[in-house]
Amino acid sequence: MAAYIAKRLLAAIPVLLGLSIIVFLIMAMIPGDPATAILGSYATPENVEKLNRDLGLDKSLPQQYLIWLGNLLQGDFGRSYALNRPVLDEVLERFSATLILAGTSLVLCSVLGLLAGVVSAVRQYGWTDKIVTVLVLIGISLPSFWLGLLLILAFAVKIRLFPASGMFAIYGGGDLPDLLYHLFLPAVTLAVVATGVIARLTRTAMLEVLRQDYIRTARAKGLKERHVIYRHAFKAALVSVIPVIGIQAGFVLGGAVYIETVFQWPGIGSMLVNAISTRDLLLVQGGVLVVAGAYVLFNLAADVVQTILDPRLR
């Protein structure tokens, strides 16, 4: 298993390089003089010149990329002009908040999605199945940013059950219960769409598996139906749902952009939106790179879990 994980980690390196090339090329796409574009038209000539030098814009594109990559590898993501601090410091600080939010959501949507999918498949065409199917359809059509606003109106304004925004109380907060209290609404909002997708695919996977010969064997052995469903069918279905959960990690990390803005969660999503508005492009670049890198690792983890579950993949 260790050898397999090492192999997968090595295979992730070209993907990470590819990500960095795409991000680099997007930033090279900026129309006009990049330094002026980044600093705005009121920038002093000295600043423009300094930035040009910082970005190595006098060199060829591949050279620029290599220099930039070299800097990244040394942890130098540049400085945020708006915040006047190193990009990496800001990004990591913000990213930890996003991880708490997105991680919770991912756990929520996996558990709820798998559960709903299994129940729906087992009671195919029954009332539970119909209700789950309609809820799933609603869930994947809901604009999450709007749902967030509705939940704030309902649970923070009408019945004051949860706070409307922030990660910790301004006075006297900062402990775990306070965090969970603030986490609840945004995490639920963020989980809704992914729950729908996972539930839907779990249902299909379960229906597919329940038709397999080995399920008939399990029944022919006289196993209890619950055992057949949860041990035999669910495990096999899980193998095909795990990669989907890996992909949902991407939707959750991306969706965090909206939810963090709605709930003013101090994560990397709201940071990115602010940075785009203030044209703080190095901050955008750093943020995108770190989140994309984390997503690659998420998917790698999903692959490893799948391999642990399925001996045929070893």
Binding site: G18, V257, V273
Partner: protein, 645 residues
């Protein structure tokens, strides 16, 4: 739009066969609702300039934040006093236009990449698909954010960004289909006829790929509208004074607590729009997905449904372990009823091996699977008859009682041991599980017993093998494991459904001799299903020959092999190659068995029978006794004393 065009056609009810695509779509209430709502939204959006609406951009600070149902403003006004209803309709226009444009751009470039990659293959394919993989390695909306960051906020830039991140979905789907198509004969033919690659790609392949492009569009357009609205909500899409639904929601958010309607209304509109698209899109996909049409995705329940119209009386004295009387099993598919088993009697005595033989489709496997309720429901059901296991009518028992009997009193060995063993559990797990389902014992004790069972079926090194997964064993080994599983709880009856068919010939012989030996050792009764007379003669004491869901001949193996009475039996025996007789003619049976939803009158074999006579084609041909344990369903049997005609 195409949906509306389809809707104009009258829904004709077809008498037979699969329902038409349109009927499936309209019968799908959700999809039909989606179509209606979507059409309505599109019509209103298109008619916006003609409707008596206030100017969406005229501000009226005196009238700001009017509530819903104000006299002049049905949906109220926003923070600048603009009429929300008017802005909503105009905003929907923008959102729809942006969503559709983004979809078309993504579909165009994605399909182009997919077509080229799939058709050209090789390094081009590799390069293009690696690029697509890279784009997909980004969390969905993040790449769009990076693009907007570079290009600057704005509706058109948001549109490009959303289109770009959706290109991979099209490229991947289209490439997959294209690869399959470019290896097909019609493409080869076009190539040989001297058509250029461009001609082939767009003239031959593209028309075949079009449905997939449409499906992908219908499933992604909802997201694209949602995501462009999202970018506008964040202030990165539509910039004032231009407004789409997303930016309206974003502006309203600032006054959420005081005037919630300003943000709730556009959000609701996005939701309804996306939901109607998704409902309709799902409907389209389901209709175009052939698996759903035949109902194949239905989940079989734990036990075959029993809906008996006739229940035979229990026999006065029980001389058999398993006594099947007048068994009828049916499948209901698309309104048609297939009588797979049409009244079968079988008697299985202790220690005996009864072979049930017939072509595929003769109903032999369905007969065997009916006994313990393992015929999939839906679509199968037991429609009549009874099966007594000693004194219990298996079709009258509770589900729990059946579960207790399965794998203990009656166990099964199936055809393909690779697909019948669970791929994710070790052999040991699956064996101990079978033991512990019926015997209260510790896990360690069960493992010990499992090893003994493997030893019993002649698997060397059993303790080691318990840790193996099915895919790590050979086909023969796997079938030995299945047999061990069937022996785990001292079964009275083993139902073996073509247990050797999926195996190599030499392995077949080993498994047969193993089953033979075990039968002698354990004195179990075996119901052995096969299509091969060679196999039957090696293991069975008695034979029942099945054709079109009924037994056409029974007797001891020797008698039937020596003097087959039914022409069908004769033909089946002639199909078996005999070692040392290379000159013997191998007859295939001409024609095909009749379809069991429309059986002809008289003998079902008449159309293929070389000795057919006029009276074979009418009336009910009974199973006639020819002697003790010997009977034939033929009015002109080949040998022996025939019935009086």
């Amino acid at each position: 739009m195409s949906g509306a065009a389809i809707a104009a056609k009258p829904a004709k009810k077809k008498a037979t066969g699969r329902p038409s695509s349109f009927r499936l779509l309209i019968n799908n209430t959700l999809a039909a609702t989606g179509l209606v709502v979507l059409t309505l939204i599109i019509l209103i959006a298109l008619a916006a300039p003609l409707l008596p609406l206030a100017d969406p951009d005229v501000t009226a600070p005196a009238n700001r934040l009017q509530p819903i149902f104000s006299p002049d403003h049905v949906l109220g006004t926003d923070a600048l006093g603009r009429d929300i209803l008017s802005r909503l309709i105009w905003g929907t226009r923008v959102s729809l236009a942006v969503g559709i444009s983004a979809t078309l751009i993504a579909a165009f470039f994605g399909s182009l990449i997919g077509l080229v990659a799939g058709y050209v293959g090789g390094r081009t394919d590799n390069l293009l698909m690696r690029g697509i993989d890279m784009v997909m390695a980004f969390p969905y909306i993040l790449l769009a954010l990076a693009i907007v960051a570079a290009l600057g906020p704005g509706l058109i830039n948001a549109l490009y960004a959303i289109a770009v991140v959706n290109i991979p979905f099209f490229a991947r789907n289209i490439r997959g289909i294209t690869i399959g198509l470019s290896r097909r004969e019609f493409v080869d033919a076009a190539r040989l006829s001297g058509k250029s690659h461009v001609n082939i790609l767009f003239g031959e392949i593209l028309p075949n790929v079009l449905p997939v492009i449409i499906i992908t569009m219908s499933t992604t357009i909802g997201w694209m509208i949602l995501e462009t609205a999202g970018l506008s909500f964040l202030g990165l899409g539509a910039q004032p004074p231009q407004a789409d639904l997303g930016s309206m929601l974003g502006e309203g958010r600032k006054i959420l607590f005081t005037s919630p309607h300003v943000s709730i209304i556009p959000g609701l509109m996005i939701f309804v729009l996306v939901m109607s698209i998704n409902l309709f899109g799902d409907g389209v996909r389901d209709v175009l997905d052939p698996r759903l049409k035949s109902g194949a995705l239905s989940r079989p329940v734990a036990r075959t449904a029993v809906k008996r119209t006739d229940v035979p009386e229990a026999p006065a004295e029980q001389d058999a372990v398993l006594d099947v009387k007048a068994l009828r099993t049916e499948f209901e598919i698309g309104g048609d009823i297939y009588k797979a088993v049409g009244g079968v009697d079988l008697k299985l005595r202790q220690g005996e091996c009864l072979g049930v033989i017939g072509e595929s489709g003769s109903g032999k496997s369905v007969t065997a699977m009916s006994i313990m309720g393992l015929v999939p429901t839906p679509p199968g059901r037991i429609a009549g008859g009874a099966a007594w296991l000693e004194h219990e009518d298996l079709f009258a028992l509770s589900d729990e009682r059946i579960r207790q009997l399965r794998g203990s009193a009656v166990s099964h060995v199936f055809q393909d041991p690779l697909s019948t063993l669970h791929p994710l559990y070790t052999v040991g797990y699956q064996l101990t599980e079978a033991i512990m389902a019926h015997q209260a014992m510790s896990h360690a004790h069960a493992t010990e017993k499992a090893a003994k069972l493997l030893e019993l079926v002649r698997i060397p090194n059993p303790a080691e093998r318990l840790k193996a997964y099915p895919h790590e064993l050979s086909g023969g080994m796997r079938q030995r494991v299945c047999i061990a599983m069937a022996l785990a709880n001292d079964a009275k009856v083993i139902i073996a459904d073509e247990p050797t068919t999926a195996l190599d010939v030499t392995v077949q012989a080993q498994i047969l001799s193993l089953m033979n030996t075990l039968q002698d050792e354990t004195n179990t009764a075996t119901l052995f299903i096969t299509h091969d007379f060679g196999v039957v003669s090696a293991i069975c004491d008695r034979i029942a020959v099945m054709y079109a869901g009924r037994i056409v001949e029974t007797g001891t193996t020797e008698e039937i092999l020596a003097n087959p009475a039914h022409p069908y039996t004769r033909k089946l025996i002639d199909c078996v190659p005999v070692l040392g007789e290379p000159g013997r003619r191998l007859d295939a049976i001409e024609g095909r068995p009749p379809v069991v939803n429309r059986l002809p009158a008289g003998c079902a074999f008449a159309d293929r029978c070389p000795y057919v006579q006029a009276d074979c084609r009418s009336g009910e041909i009974p199973l006639t006794e020819l002697g003790r344990d010997r009977a034939v369903r033929c009015i002109h049997p080949l040998t022996g004393e025939g019935p009086n005609v």
